[in-house]
């Protein structure tokens, strides 16, 4: 078994939509239906042309993707928000660790990012991965996600200084 990463390709957009639609996954994203998932996937993959998206491969099979939301503005170009998703069939196999490690290298070496940050919803098990890789919390926004009439999720903001 080998986990590798490569730059994402347009064909990966369909896979991303499938992964976002897997049971329970949308709970961890601000997305509620197919229209929103397709819109988010289109935006995610629009960063391919800036070399900001990686796809993880498990023995050659795509199993996850991670994205650098590279800023179009000069004053913000040194910092970057990212997002990551792993196909549920490949969870617990260190795919997230490999993907995020390679994304950090891409951020630092290719895009000269000095501050990498993320947004995660309270209770998301991925938080442990972020902590293990050195991300620290710098704020939280209560009631960020609203599901149903009165169920809310807090958004936790974490960051890692890369240089």
């Amino acid at each position: 078994m080998t986990i590798t990463t490569r730059f994402s390709e347009e064909a990966d957009e369909k896979r991303l939509v499938e992964w976002l639609l897997q049971p329970g996954i949308m709970h961890w994203f601000p997305l509620a239906d197919l229209r929103e998932v397709e819109d988010a996937a289109r935006i995610w993959m629009s960063y391919i042309k800036m070399k900001g998206v990686l796809t993880a491969l498990w023995d050659g099979t795509p199993c996850g993707t991670a994205l650098l939301y590279l800023s179009p503005y000069k004053k913000m170009a040194h910092q970057c928000l990212f997002a990551i998703i792993v196909d549920e069939k490949f969870r617990g196999k260190k795919v997230g660790t490999q993907l995020l490690t390679d994304l950090i290298s891409l951020a630092q070496e290719t895009h000269h990012i000095e501050l990498l940050h993320l947004e995660v919803y309270e209770g998301n098990p991925a938080t442990r991965l972020y902590e293990r890789l050195g991300f620290v919390e710098y704020g939280r926004e209560r009631h960020f996600i609203k599901e149903g009439k009165d169920h809310y999720l807090t958004k936790v903001m974490m960051q890692k200084v890369l240089s």
């Binding site: 929103e36 179009p72 000069k74 501050l115 940050h117 209560r142 009631h143 996600i145 609203k146 903001m157």
Partner: protein, 164 residues
């Protein structure tokens, strides 16, 4: 507020030309993520919210002097809150216009859009911090080094106000 001739109306696409003039003033762009050279797309996006009646224009004697806008969220699970942007013509600062604009934006958010909270991102230092704190915003995050202007790092302060 008691500034003679001051009034507020919904923004119109045509207000963009006034905003472009305000952003041409020295250092005005320092409070925003974009530079003057990069202004075209973000300002078009900004005034684009006028078609949803989510943007207000402050006027003095019929002349636009400020634009404040709710950046409504595109996805359902986050549609109960929004951020806002505000610009006041540098010539009309320190007259209470900013405070009045923020108060009217909050009213718009609560009454027209039935939002539960509004948040704002401010690059420090910025006089807008005292304006929003005065009307009840509280900080919930500060990110050091979030913006770099001519090699100098500055912080991004995030504040929120809940209606419920």
């Amino acid at each position: 507020m008691d500034l003679p001739g001051f009034d507020i109306r919904y923004s119109e696409e045509g207000d963009l030309s006034f905003m472009e003039g305000w952003f041409a003033e020295p250092h005005v762009c320092d409070g925003f993520p974009f530079t003057y050279e990069e202004r075209e797309f973000p300002l078009k996006n900004w005034i684009g919210f006028s078609k949803y009646k989510a943007s207000l224009t402050g006027m003095v004697e019929g002349q636009p002097v400020a634009v404040g806008t709710l950046f409504l969220m595109p996805y359902r699970k986050v549609a109960h809150h929004s951020s806002f942007y505000l610009i006041v013509d540098a010539k009309w600062r320190r007259k209470g216009i900013g405070t009045s604009m923020v108060k009217n934006l909050l009213h718009l958010a609560q009454v027209r859009f039935r939002l539960e909270s509004v948040h704002v991102e401010i690059f420090l230092p910025n006089p807008l911090v005292s304006v929003v704190k005065k009307v009840g915003f509280v900080p919930f995050a500060e990110q050091e080094g979030a913006i770099k202007i001519e090699g100098k790092l500055a912080s991004r302060l995030l504040l929120e106000k809940f209606f419920v």
